[in-house]
């Protein structure tokens, strides 16, 4: 089982990301959960959302405190909220940022596996909006190998209709443009 924690800001679509990932995994025959950090949503405030994906039925109904993967949707959250809290020693941190990986490492005092991608830039170019939630799904798929890119097609098309193809292109770009940071 892989446990993923998403950090974003209210309105940036972190919940949509976990929904897309869970639906894609379930459609691929896996077991999955997608859920928000329970509570009232506030636009712009730091929020979290969660995924569990497994080949076996998932029998846990609690939050995720020791994630295998942390995804940071909003560059401004680095250094603002403790995004690496509880991340497993062998875990993966994926950050949407235009900054060099070294700077992220320094700011978070983080020595583990790190991937960076300028998803906001990609989203602006592909979607015309600085909303990086679907773009970052491409990065998550690349970094974790939890599903193939094709698995996202059906849930994204179902959800986004005529703008689905733009979201899928953004996702593909993040999949190929994401960079693994040098080991610390």
């Amino acid at each position: 089982m892989i446990e993923i924690r998403w950090h974003g800001r209210g309105g940036q679509g972190a919940v949509t990301s976990v929904e897309m990932l869970a639906l894609a995994a379930i459609e691929a025959g896996k077991y999955a959960q997608g859920f928000p950090a329970f509570g009232p949503e506030r636009r712009g405030a730091p929020v979290m959302a969660f995924n569990r994906v497994s080949d076996k039925p998932i029998k846990i109904r609690s939050g995720i405190y020791q994630p295998d993967v942390v995804v940071v949707l909003d560059p401004s959250l680095v250094g603002l909220v403790p995004v690496t809290d509880g991340l497993k020693p062998a875990g993966i941190l994926i950050v949407n940022t235009a900054k060099p990986a070294e700077e992220i490492r320094k700011k978070l005092n983080y020595k583990g596996k790190l991937f960076t991608v300028d998803a906001t830039h990609i989203a602006r170019e592909e979607l015309g909006l600085p909303i990086a939630n679907t773009t970052m799904l491409g990065a998550v798929l690349k970094a974790t190998g939890v599903l193939g890119l094709n698995a996202m097609k059906s849930p994204v098309e179902h959800r986004f209709g005529r703008v689905a193809s733009k979201n899928l292109s953004a996702m593909k770009r993040a999949f190929s443009e994401m960079k693994a940071a040098k080991a610390a």
Partner: protein, 387 residues
């Protein structure tokens, strides 16, 4: 068999009810039930089912409107949570006394104050004595299955009582997970149209549920009690028909790795899955622990409960609610009174935990099993409370 889809459980609960040929829904939105209310309204507004959606100004009105609809012979549905259920409280025992088989989903949530929208069972417990059949669900699939079964149970001529299906707020309602839906045709075969015993009709005027003097009121209370206790065998029968048709087995009390267990934990609702994972972890270390899950809370399945716990030394009873100023949580106080007259009975520990959305992890359940090692126990204890 059914189609496997990924879906949010609240949406799935509304979709399940949409398969049930309902006539009327009156649902007032409240967190964390709102997605059921919104989706039910969508389904009816879009004409996907031939039913009336009554937009009411409160939960008191919702249940009152349904009482009228059900008395007129309609298959009626509502859903609520927390303060909404508290506002319905006045009408709930009237509905059961009138023997109206209204079905309701309750997205379990703490009650105010302080205001808290998160999960526990403090909303359903004050409704415990209202004469409703009360079922608990552990996951989204159970929410679908029991929502459909609830109409069949409630409308059975031997029952004719309302039924509430408890679906833990957020923990279940807001979870996207894999679910299977039976087809419309399969549900139609399982759940024929309602045949009301009596119904309000202008051509045949009758009075229902009006007035009882001291010389008859006690008899009405006993009649309701006999009906509710008698509902258990119908619940069991409907579960068994469901298993035959759809392959998923349900029991009024269910056990998990309980056979040779020295310590058993009893849970209701979504706690069951996380607790089962804790049991698996402890079994790997050779600990003789197991789980008892109470699915049917009212009527309390006394015989099935006794059989499920027979032979265990310690029973840890989880309560996600507290009878304030009383002798612990409502589940444990029931269980202790059931066991009091028994010659052979386990030591009962009562843990009140998971209130107002306080998360319960696998590790928490392992810790709570560990309370069985304590020499002396209080009547009940809070788990994880800061002093």
């Amino acid at each position: 068999m059914g189609k496997r889809v990924g879906m949010e459980v609240a949406i799935a609960a509304a979709e399940a009810v949409a398969l049930c040929n309902i006539d009327v829904a009156a649902v007032y939105p409240i967190t964390p039930q709102s997605h059921i209310a919104e989706h039910m309204a969508d389904i009816i507004h879009d004409g996907r089912i031939d039913a009336e959606f009554i937009t009411v100004e409160s939960e008191h009105s919702a249940i009152s409107a349904l009482a009228g609809a059900s008395a007129a012979g309609a298959r009626a549905y509502t859903a609520t949570s927390s303060q909404g259920l508290m506002l319905m409280h006045e009408i709930l025992p009237i509905v059961s006394a009138m023997r109206l088989p209204i079905c309701m989903a309750n997205a379990n949530r703490a009650v105010s104050g302080p205001l808290n929208i998160w999960n526990d069972h403090t909303d359903i417990m004050p409704q415990r004595d209202s004469g409703w059949i009360c079922l608990f669900t552990e996951n989204g699939q159970e929410a679908i299955d029991l929502s459909i079964m609830s109409f069949k149970i409630a409308e059975d001529p031997e029952v004719m009582l309302p039924c509430v299906v408890n679906i833990d707020g957020f923990q279940l309602t807001h979870m996207i997970e894999p679910l299977e839906f039976p087809s419309q045709a399969e549900v139609a075969k399982f759940l024929p149209p309602r045949k009301p015993f009596a119904q309000l009709h202008p051509d045949n005027p009758i009075s229902m549920g009006c007035f009882a003097m001291p010389d008859t009121y006690t008899e009405t209370v006993k009649a309701k009690e006999v009906a509710l206790q008698g509902a258990k065998k119908v619940v069991i029968r409907v579960f068994s028909e469901w298993a035959k048709r759809f392959g998923r087995k349900y029991g009024v009390v269910e056990t998990y790795r309980a056979k040779d267990a020295e310590t058993l934990m009893l849970t209701m609702g979504s706690m069951g899955e996380t607790a089962a994972t804790a049991v698996d972890e402890m079994r790997k270390k050779g600990k003789k622990v197991g789980l008892v899950k109470l699915r049917l809370w009212r009527p309390f399945p006394v015989e099935e409960f006794k059989a499920a716990i027979a032979g265990c030394k310690t029973l840890v009873v989880m309560d996600r609610a507290l009878s304030t100023g009383g002798a612990g949580g409502p589940v444990a106080t029931d269980i202790k009174s059931i066991l009091y007259g028994e010659k052979k009975k386990p030591r009962v520990l009562n843990v009140v935990a998971g209130l107002g959305g306080r998360d319960l992890t696998v590790g928490d359940f392992v810790n709570m099993f560990g309370l069985a090692n304590k020499k002396k126990n209080e009547i009940f204890e809070f788990y994880g409370v800061r002093e």
